[in-house]
């Protein structure tokens, strides 16, 4: 079954991850984030009809398929400036918001919270309360989170027929217009989620919670009786007591492409991103924001199992030829994306920093990036989006009699180069497509996980996750729960594993 690999690009989409660290004493001296799965999605697309990408790319990821679908539609539209009606953009936004909020809720309560029940914390005063709330498949918050996340994706099913994996966003719009019933149904779903968030997560009205704008006000608020025993109260008080707000920073550069498209401003000819939450690169040292410039993205493969090339390449010029070399200093199926030669972090924290959430900006200024803040930002984003969803539904009700789809002009999908970005649940997602004579000739995907979980690049710079654990002291090297917290605060894909090598002694690889 040997296969000669052909000279075209393929991929490293999010898949299984392992994480290796080197210890010196009880301190992490080096770290390797290892993508252990290679699926070759970009190769599957070569030679296919352009619209087929709308069926295939959502299957890159079952958790953020809506984001992939949206990005594919944008990339195809951008090849020849295909117009998209506002009606469609609003529906696309709503569906992506539903997917992202669903993911934020599941990630927080199904994937991050269980680590708070680690045996290490068994004697902690909050342990019984944490257990009651966060016990997998049994805790009160977990059960209600499952229920509400399941309900939220019904919004995608209303417009797309099912979640996950559908193909209702198409170049020029969406496959079905919104109806009056849809607006009522979606509103009911959003309201249910808001009620849950107010009762279980914050113990306050959404408006009040969103109006908290300084670290000081927040820290007082969270200690008030109405808030201290909510899901957010428990998580925050416990995490800060354990010092999760003091470690796990990583790089201080935060990337967001800008979240959710402005339905009116984002029209052909497509120039800069026009988004509801502004994008950019937020500098954690100067607290300044630069504009996001897609042309500054490159990908390195020096430490990845791909045929080597020097430095980094822009995705339009990149190649991805697998070259598995287990006995070398290369260690991952992930490439190393860099922005303007910088290691960046992407995700809800970045999205809210560039988007100007006053509370998140103030917390970063006071305490720097950290594990608790990253996870906190995820819950914060869920509520920001729930609020935005209500506004989008209002806007949608104004569009009911306007077209949901404008058939692209003949030939506009047959030739061209396009790219698109959205903010997926885990951060900035980019697709680059090249079409010639009605066939895809190149397809390149850079996932949020690729940004965060990248291995070292050609200059030897560690990826962001690696940086966020290097130097970390461990309380118990046989139960390295700190690493778990840091890694999970990034919302790694489901099967991320903290693969721990050489407990108790220094293990060195040729890196």
């Amino acid at each position: 079954m040997a296969r000669k690999t052909v000279n075209i690009e393929l991929n490293r989409v999010e898949g299984d991850l392992e994480f290796q660290v080197d210890l010196e004493g009880d301190r992490v001296a080096d770290a390797r984030c290892i993508g252990t799965l290679f699926r070759g999605f970009e190769q599957l697309l070569i030679g296919r009809a352009p619209k087929d990408a709308l069926v295939i790319t959502p299957r890159v990821c079952g958790i953020c398929g809506t984001a992939h679908l949206f990005t594919t539609a944008l990339a195809l539209e951008r090849m020849n400036d295909v117009p998209v009606p506002a009606h469609a953009t609003i529906i696309r936004n709503l569906c992506l918001m539903a997917e992202n909020v669903q993911s934020d809720i599941r990630q927080t309560f199904l994937f991050f919270a269980p680590d708070l029940l680690n045996p290490r914390y068994a004697d902690h005063a909050l342990a019984p309360a944490l257990e009651k709330a966060f016990k997998p498949l049994q805790g009160s918050v977990v059960l209600s989170a499952l229920d509400v996340s399941r309900t939220l994706v019904e919004i995608v099913a209303i417009f797309g027929g099912q979640w996950p994996h559908s193909t209702y966003m198409i170049p020029g719009g969406v496959t079905r217009p919104a109806t009056v019933s849809d607006i009522i149904d979606c509103r009911e779903i959003v309201d249910k989620a808001v009620r849950w968030f107010e009762k279980e997560v914050v113990g306050d009205s959404l408006d009040n919670w969103l109006s908290l704008d300084t670290a000081e006000r927040f820290l007082e608020w969270v200690d008030e009786p109405a808030h201290r025993d909510t899901a957010l109260g428990l998580f925050t008080r416990f995490a800060r007591d354990q010092g999760l707000h003091t470690y796990g920073a990583g790089t201080d550069q935060f990337l967001s492409a800008g979240a959710h498209y402005d339905p009116v401003e984002w029209q052909a000819p497509y120039g800069e991103q026009r988004t509801l939450l502004a994008g950019g690169v937020y500098d954690g040292a100067t607290h300044k924001i630069e504009a996001f410039r897609p042309e500054l993205i490159t990908e390195h493969v020096r430490h990845s199992w791909y045929r080597p090339y020097p430095d980094g390449r822009h995705p339009f010029e990149g190649e991805t030829v697998p070259d598995y070399q287990p006995e070398s200093d290369r260690y991952s199926w992930a490439k190393a994306p860099r922005y303007d030669d910088r290691v960046v972090e992407t995700g809800p924290l970045a999205e809210l920093l560039t988007g100007g959430d006053a509370l998140i900006v103030d917390l970063l200024k006071k305490e720097g990036a950290n594990t608790w803040l990253r996870q906190f930002a995820r819950l914060r984003r869920a509520s920001v989006l729930l609020d935005l969803m209500r506004a989008q539904l209002k806007a949608l009700s104004q569009e009911l009699n306007n077209p949901h789809y404008l058939a692209p002009a003949d030939g506009s999908l047959d030739d061209g180069d396009g790219f698109g970005f959205v903010q997926a649940a885990r951060g900035t997602l980019g697709h680059w497509v090249q079409v010639r004579n009605g066939e895809i000739t190149r397809y390149q995907i850079v996932t949020p996980t690729a940004w965060n979980a990248s291995p070292k690049d050609s200059a030897g710079r560690h990826g962001h996750w690696e940086q966020s654990v290097i130097g970390l002291p461990l309380t118990d090297i046989d139960n390295p729960i700190e690493i778990s917290h840091v890694v999970r605060s990034h919302d790694p894909c489901l099967v991320c594993t903290v693969h721990f090598v050489g407990a108790g002694k220094k293990v060195r690889y040729g890196v």
Binding site: G40, L44, R59, Q162, W163, Y168, Y324
Partner: protein
């Protein structure tokens, strides 16, 4: 109580999401009712992965019973037959699956990847992957056709990309409660694969009168021009609505036949191959002669409301 272990191989987690979306029964109710005990699931288990490694070892050695093995994702054999495109702790996942399947009472291939190879097995199949007991529509995949689990069943194929949420949890319930599981020719439980997507599609009246859409975004039938495979695809999408709300065809998305062994088909997914006016692949069981005869009649008989595509979907 049936023990269940869920492994992800070359997967996208879509079937896991589907599992979490199931509402009746939900996974949490199967657990609460004492039907299922989850030994391991990558997104639910809280133990470190060393626990999974230990479980694998115990099951392999026969020290621990495994009732249901669920596999999500395609079985990757690349590069060069090593399986190392997809590994766990330096061991190819296909080897782990092979070892565990040999000890399990029942083995479920959850999703079209595990069942038939799915999207990753589409040409040029960059990772050399297969399904568990099928390679697309050819019987025999990672296991040959004679392979049987301990209870004497072949791999039970829950086709779909992803599998319908209720198909997953109901199959788990059937196995846990000792209900009979009857399989079709592709080893899919007939209870969920005994009807076509076309049955129950709200666009059926358009289909009957041969009122066709030529562009996406419309209200009429998508079979004639837009590649809809509803009339040849066995699945319950239009009778058990997705997420309790809708289905792809209701939302104006052609059925791509994702529960079938040959998903995704080669060639343009949004186009219907035709010979003259007539689709090359006709609805299941329909003869070309009859089809030609009634197609023109149907068109002529279409009432105005249907011809004008005024009926909402």
């Amino acid at each position: 109580m049936a023990t269940m272990l869920w492994l992800q191989t070359g997967a996208c987690s879509g079937d896991t999401m589907s599992l979490l979306n199931a509402h009746g029964p939900s996974l949490e109710s199967l657990v609460a009712n004492g039907d299922i005990q989850v030994l391991w699931h990558p997104s639910i288990s809280t133990e470190p992965t060393s626990h999974l490694a230990k479980l694998i070892e115990q099951i392999e050695k026969g020290e621990r019973e495994l009732d249901i093995l669920c596999v999500e994702g395609s079985l990757i054999t690349g590069p060069y037959g090593t399986g190392m495109f997809d590994s766990f702790r330096g061991r190819a996942k296909i080897d782990i699956v092979r070892a565990l399947a040999g000890q399990a009472q029942a083995v479920l291939a959850v999703g079209s990847c595990a069942a038939f190879g799915g999207i990753p097995a589409a040409p040029p199949n960059p990772t050399d992957c297969t399904g568990m007991q099928f390679t697309r529509d050819t019987a025999g995949g990672m296991f040959d056709t004679a392979w049987r689990s301990k209870s004497g069943m072949p791999v039970i194929n829950l086709g779909g990309c992803p599998t319908h949420p209720l198909t997953i949890t109901r199959t788990l319930a059937m196995l846990a409660q000792g209900l009979p599981v009857e399989l079709d020719a592709h080893n899919r439980p007939t209870a969920f694969f005994n009807q076509m997507v076309h049955q129950g599609c709200t666009r059926n009246e358009y289909h009957e009168y041969d009122v066709e859409d030529t562009e996406l975004g419309g209200r009429a039938c998508m079979f004639f021009n837009l590649g809809c495979q509803g009339p040849t695809t066995m699945a319950n999408c239009n009778s058990e609505l997705w997420n309790q709300r809708s289905s792809k065809t209701r939302a104006g998305v052609p059925c791509f036949g994702c529960t079938s062994p040959n998903f995704p088909k080669n060639g343009d997914l949004f186009r219907t191959e035709k010979m003259g006016e007539v689709p090359v692949t006709l609805p299941l069981g329909v003869s070309r002669g009859h089809y030609m005869a009634y197609k023109n009649l149907a068109q002529a008989a279409a009432p105005m409301r249907v011809r004008d595509k005024k009926m909402d979907t």
